[in-house]
């Protein structure tokens, strides 16, 4: 633990304890699922009846999971990129510029977070069909739908982050000859790196986990992994999905590891950057 100014030993200890307790809370049901993924029984008997890797074999070889994974990665990456690309300028406008209709815009922005996902899915489905745009059942349709669901996250996180960046450094960049966009890219963006990473992460995970809206937007060719999992579960109740979930967790662990290596120093703080500590 890296202490920060004004930390008391007792407080740091307490924080550690809270973190420990919360990690236990977070991990407990997950660990059971992970353990169950090696359960040789096909009907989830507890304690596990024996050890097997069959479910992993199944999870890895079923073509719909392979295709779903690829689709999910494509949808996740694309929609994250889209939403960051349109959300960042939007957040910037909200923080730095006075314009008419801003409060209205902020109100509308919260919307996609709250409308029940399934209602969002239904009305988007109606729109896609009614507009004759061919978006229904296409990857673009999924990306657009996911971008819509994620925009509020991304904008809220970025707004909070941009608020912490002193506008004066932007002035300095402008004064040194940077155009408005250049100043933003060279000076503001690097400073909101933690916000961008976090927003991107939230966006990607939302997309990777989305079922309720997506199910209205997909055709089989573009089924995402969670949709395939949902459909599988409707019919089979063996531990294959536990194995698949475990694989996803392991994969994300690997990604964090790579991220941390990339960030050179070994902590979340370094991965995210930031100037406080």
């Amino acid at each position: 633990m890296q202490a920060r100014a004004g930390d008391s030993k007792a407080a740091v200890l307490m924080l550690r304890m809270v973190l420990g307790a919360v990690l236990v809370f977070m991990a407990a049901p997950i660990l059971i699922v992970v353990a169950n993924s090696f359960n040789s029984s096909q009907f989830n008997v507890w304690p596990p009846a024996g050890f097997t890797l069959d479910w992993y074999h199944k999870a890895l070889t079923m073509p719909q999971f392979q295709r779903g994974f690829v689709n999910s990665v494509i949808a996740g990456v694309l929609s994250t990129l889209v939403v960051l690309a349109v959300g960042t300028p939007l957040a910037y406008a909200i923080v730095r510029i006075k314009f008419r209709g801003k409060s209205l815009l902020q109100g509308v922005l919260l919307g996609p977070l709250v409308v029940p996902r399934i209602a969002m899915g239904f009305s988007l489905f109606v729109l896609y069909l009614a507009s004759g745009s061919g978006l229904y059942g296409s990857m673009s349709g999924i990306v657009l739908g996911h971008a819509l669901l994620m925009l509020p996250f991304v904008v809220s996180v970025l707004v909070a982050n941009l608020g912490e960046v002193d506008p004066i450094v932007e002035e300095a960049a402008r004064d040194l000859g940077a155009g408005a966009v250049e100043a933003f890219v060279r000076v503001v963006l690097p400073q909101i790196r933690p916000g961008l990473i976090v927003a991107g992460l939230l966006a990607f995970i939302t997309s990777f986990d989305e079922v309720e809206t997506t199910i209205f937007l997909v055709k089989p060719v573009v089924n995402t992994l969670p949709i395939e999992m949902y459909l599988y579960l409707d019919q089979y109740q063996d531990p294959t999905l536990a194995a698949l979930s475990t694989l996803l967790i392991a994969l994300s662990m690997l990604l964090v590891l790579v991220g941390l290596m990339f960030a050179k120093r070994g902590s979340l703080r370094f991965l995210l950057g930031g100037r406080g500590a």
Binding site: S41, F43, F122, V126, P220, Y232, D234, Q235, Q237
Partner: protein, 327 residues
């Protein structure tokens, strides 16, 4: 080239239609069949909405539906009648299940009985009333949602009510809920399996077709046929309105092929359902199953899904207010 979109159910229901579609495409290279696997619950609203928007461009041309969705679709004018000459095999459907105007070919069914944990309940339950037996207090689970429809009506019928008067059934559920009889309501197969296997829940009404594979896999789960009769759950093909003439023709051709005895038998075996065809006989091992004995099937409770579809909203509203609120 013609594109046909066919809706099928996922899982065990998938292989046979896929096999047939492939065979058809091989024989007719100019036809592409696009199979969409899914559930009625997710697919039916999409089909209905898409027809509302563009009546001549249905999301799927034909597909597999349960009688509940069939009845809804019939009232909502989603499905088209089958042409007897194009689908001669409809004639082989048991008369009781032949649809008026041949809107749909309901050719098989699942049945619903009592599913229980064999470790906790040694003596197989015998009656629907066991669900309300105080000795199972807190150990009974019900399916949320559908059960609001068919379980309700079935119980009403057993207690002197009918599709037009569900009050007798509703009252029993409401009282049992208030008395703490029910452990919980489940919403998916997986959940019920988990509840039963863990011993949290001992007994629940559910589909034979779902429970048998669990038991076959070694789970401590049994299926028993209530003496009052199982509740039937017929399923089959529906032709969706709005397709082109060519699409309609091909769709009916495929439906007809799917209704051939070998195809039906194949389907019933893989999906653990019962055929409703005059010209199909079950293989010996299956025929021994008490659930499929002629007497059992004769006493089975058949529900009027058309009436149920009409009342669905009102009932589910009552169910929410009288049963769920009191759980």
């Amino acid at each position: 080239a013609t594109r046909i979109s066919q809706f099928i159910w996922t899982g065990a229901q998938e292989p046979v239609p896929r096999k047939l579609a492939e065979a058809y495409m091989k024989a007719h290279p100019d036809v592409t069949i696009e199979l969409t696997a899914g559930t009625n619950a997710a697919m039916y609203p999409k089909i209905k909405a898409s027809l509302d928007i563009s009546a001549n461009d249905p999301l799927v041309n034909f597909g597999f539906f349960n009688l509940d969705a069939s009845a809804k679709g019939r009232t909502a004018n989603v499905f088209a009648p089958l042409d007897k000459t194009a689908v001669p095999n409809v004639e082989n459907i048991l008369d009781a299940y032949r649809q008026p105007d041949d809107i749909g070919a309901i050719f098989c069914m699942d049945v619903c009985g009592l599913v229980y944990n064999t470790d906790k309940i040694k003596e197989p339950p015998k009656s629907w009333n066991d669900l309300f037996d105080p000795k199972y207090k807190g150990k009974v689970a019900l399916f949320d949602y559908y059960w609001a429809g068919n379980g309700l009506v079935a119980l009403a019928k057993l207690n002197g009510g009918s599709e037009d008067n569900i009050e007798p059934g509703m009252k029993i559920y409401a009282d049992a809920a208030a008395a703490g009889q029910f452990h919980s309501l489940y919403t998916s197969n997986a959940q019920l399996q988990q509840l039963l296997v863990s011993g949290e829940v001992w007994i629940a009404p559910y589909f034979r077709g779902v429970a048998l594979p669990w038991a076959a896999g070694g789970a401590p789960i049994g299926y028993s046929v209530p003496t009052e009769g199982q509740v039937t759950f017929p399923e089959g093909f529906q032709l969706v309105r709005g397709g082109s003439a060519e699409q309609t023709r091909i769709s009916q051709e495929i439906i007809n092929l799917s209704l051939a005895p070998e195809a039906v038998l194949d389907y019933c075996k893989t999906a653990s359902v019962l055929p409703l065809m005059k010209n199909v006989t079950l293989p010996a091992d299956l025929a021994k199953d008490p659930a499929v004995q002629p007497e059992a099937l004769k006493s089975a409770i058949n529900l009027d899904y058309a009436k149920m579809a009409a009342n669905h909203t009102a009932w589910s509203d009552q169910w929410n207010k009288r049963v769920k609120v009191n759980l």
